[in-house]
């Protein structure tokens, strides 16, 4: 038998997250776990596996696919699904566009990031999902700092930041009316650093994009973007090869890269410890306005 697990901050956060995930399964009929292939959803899924081991994870993963992914992320997603035998549901923003549910943005900063909300809400309605877990963290963004573990959404999928349920002790209230649903964020209390430390501690596999590699990039508004068929470039912008990695992985059109030589999780932790820029500092979707995240969340975003 192994030694007693010491309760340091990571183990305490782990225990809390597992408790939350189990509460979801106990309180909801038809939950899913949102999975983007980024480090936060990978860690969240790892926690879910721990929560139910040796049984299988009793809910599917759901990927809202913008169609503008990095191929490395999709490959990783498919590998993980195959490796662990979890069920994966994919819903495509492209389908929402084809059905006329959303209109593709135009111009140089066009992104499908915001459009995801409609695809997500449609999927929730179609599949009668009553709870969607997400890997959002309160340290990411100021509107997210206000988020509850159990976040109630009305029949339009909307978040009402002024009318959130008080959340006391570890007593999570998931009661709702038909047609409403919940978003639950098991790793609310984790910081970017916690996520990386946990990846190191548990030896969790992550997509290669997080590690330093050579890539064709160009600079716009101080952010390095990967050259991709999904981004329309200006004549003045020039592509060059640089040694980069990604701190967050989202839609290729709004996720910035950073110049870095970090090749291992240890390197990444050292880099994160020294950085003076927030994780989402390179996310164009947050820079659209002072309240960009809040506005998207009110509409029903993750």
């Amino acid at each position: 038998m192994s030694e007693k697990v010491p309760i340091n901050h990571l183990r305490e956060l782990e225990s809390e997250a597992i408790f939350v995930i189990r509460e979801v399964v106990a309180q909801f009929e038809n939950p899913v776990m949102l999975f983007s292939g980024g480090k936060d959803s990978i860690v969240m899924y790892h926690l879910a596996r721990k929560a139910f081991y040796p049984a299988k994870v009793p809910f599917p993963l759901m990927h809202i696919d913008t169609g503008h992914n990095f191929q490395e992320t999709l490959d990783f997603r498919d590998w993980l699904v195959k490796e662990t035998g979890v069920q994966l549901i994919v819903r495509y923003v492209q389908d929402s566009i084809d059905q006329g549910r959303v209109v593709e943005e135009t111009g140089y900063n066009a992104s499908r990031n915001k459009l995801q909300t409609v695809t997500l809400l449609d999927a929730i309605e179609e599949l009668k999902i009553d709870c969607a877990m997400g890997g959002g963290r309160r340290d990411e963004e100021k509107a997210r700092a206000k988020e509850r573990f159990f976040s109630h959404r009305d029949e339009f999928g909307q978040w009402d930041p002024k009318n959130q349920r008080p959340e006391l002790w570890n007593l999570f209230n998931g009661r709702k009316n038909i047609g409403e649903h919940f978003r639950v964020f098991p790793i609310s209390n984790w910081t970017e650093m916690d996520v990386w430390q946990y990846i190191l501690l548990e030896n969790i596999a992550i997509p290669s994009l997080y590690f330093s590699h050579e890539r064709e990039v160009f600079e716009r508004d101080g952010v390095l973007y990967a050259k991709s068929p999904y981004i329309k470039m200006k004549d003045t912008e020039k592509v060059e090869k640089r040694i980069v990695r990604f701190r967050t992985i989202g839609d290729a059109t709004c996720t910035g890269a950073i110049e870095s030589k970090a090749n291992s999780v240890e390197d990444i932790i050292r880099e994160v410890a020294a950085t003076r820029i927030t994780e989402r500092g390179g996310r164009a979707d947050d820079k659209r306005s002072e309240a960009a995240m809040e506005d998207r969340k009110i509409e029903g975003y993750f």
């Binding site: 038998m1 901050h9 305490e12 100021k142 008080p166 910081t191 820029i277």
Partner: protein, 425 residues
Amino acid sequence: MEEKTIERSYLDMELLRFTTAGSVDDGKSTLIGRLLYDSKAIFQDQLEAIERASIKKGEEYVNLALLTDGLRAEREQGITIDVAYRYFHTPKRKFIIADTPGHVQYTRNMVTGASTANAAVILVDARHGVIEQTIRHAYIASLLRIPHVIVCVNKMDLVEFKQEVFDEIQQKFHEFSSHLDLHDVRFIPISALLGDNVVERSKNMDWYQGPTLLYLLENLYISNDYNQLDARFPVQYVIRPQSTEYHDYRGYAGRMASGTFRVGDRVKVLPSGFTTTIKGIDFWTDHLDSITAPQSGTILLEDDLDVSRGCMIIPEENGIKQGQDVELMICWLGDKPMVPGGKYALKHTTNDLRCMIKEVKYKVNINTLEKDYTDKAIGMNDIACISIRTTKPLFYDSYRVNRVTGSLILIDEATNVTVGAGMII
């Protein structure tokens, strides 16, 4: 001493959760801003963003409150509406701050922030001394049994850093709080604006020999904030893999609420009352010898008993209170007043049941701490002693000895909103 690498030393840190309480203009945002800023938890792009926003609003200085006010309506009105959570760390500890507004819904929000806190930081304006708000904050800290209370006497710069002012506030606080259930109260004279005694020692107050706020937060002894005597394991979920490999596996998943269980312990399962032995404790692929609060894990029992969500595993020789008639202190959170004789849904550990409000015994005047036996109307932000009758027996401890098995929430069955925070007497 063994030299640890950066990435490894982070793995060994403790977590301290604290809440901040103060009234509207006593410098709470400034204090949090100062703690985050001086501990280098504010990033350059965040600072630049609030600089831009401050200029846009026509403010003369960089408004650190913009850093903590995350909602559009908060920034527009310059007030904090709801609890927000902030994170920072020093080489010694990780911190979670429940940043609660000092505004209108003070009690409700402070209770929310206080329910999970190891410590409360209560701000007092040195110019105004102990006011009704201070009494209220101290009372809630006592009611919620926050193990450590730190009273920061702020704006010392505005009273010429005089020791008499600090001493008098300390004495006043002791006078009224002697009726309260506070065990560890510390006082620090600070200036959040100038940074005196927040992270750096003050050069202006030689007479103060105690620790800075950050030093105190880094060194409070929190290991025994969980009840370590009474083992309690509320069953959260039953794990039955239904696979060939684990055909007979039947594990009870949950989080240890208090105390420790070891393999081989004799236990009793409630409500059935059957006794058995702990056969194993699993966590992921590990087989553990023991499980201690607040760990999550899975318990395997020697005998096949009827155990499901809502059951509680306790030691055979260590009883827990049981019953359908329960007396509790309640903090009312709902917009609608409490309905005497009304029925509410109730959540207690992993148990879902219903209850009826039998009697309002008294209401607490949280400004004077007097008990009012005549006014029985309980509205939002009121605190009262009530008795309820539940549809099924509860297995509980007094909140005084166990914050997990002694707490419950009431839910309005029509709106599904959490309307009451209860602490069992």
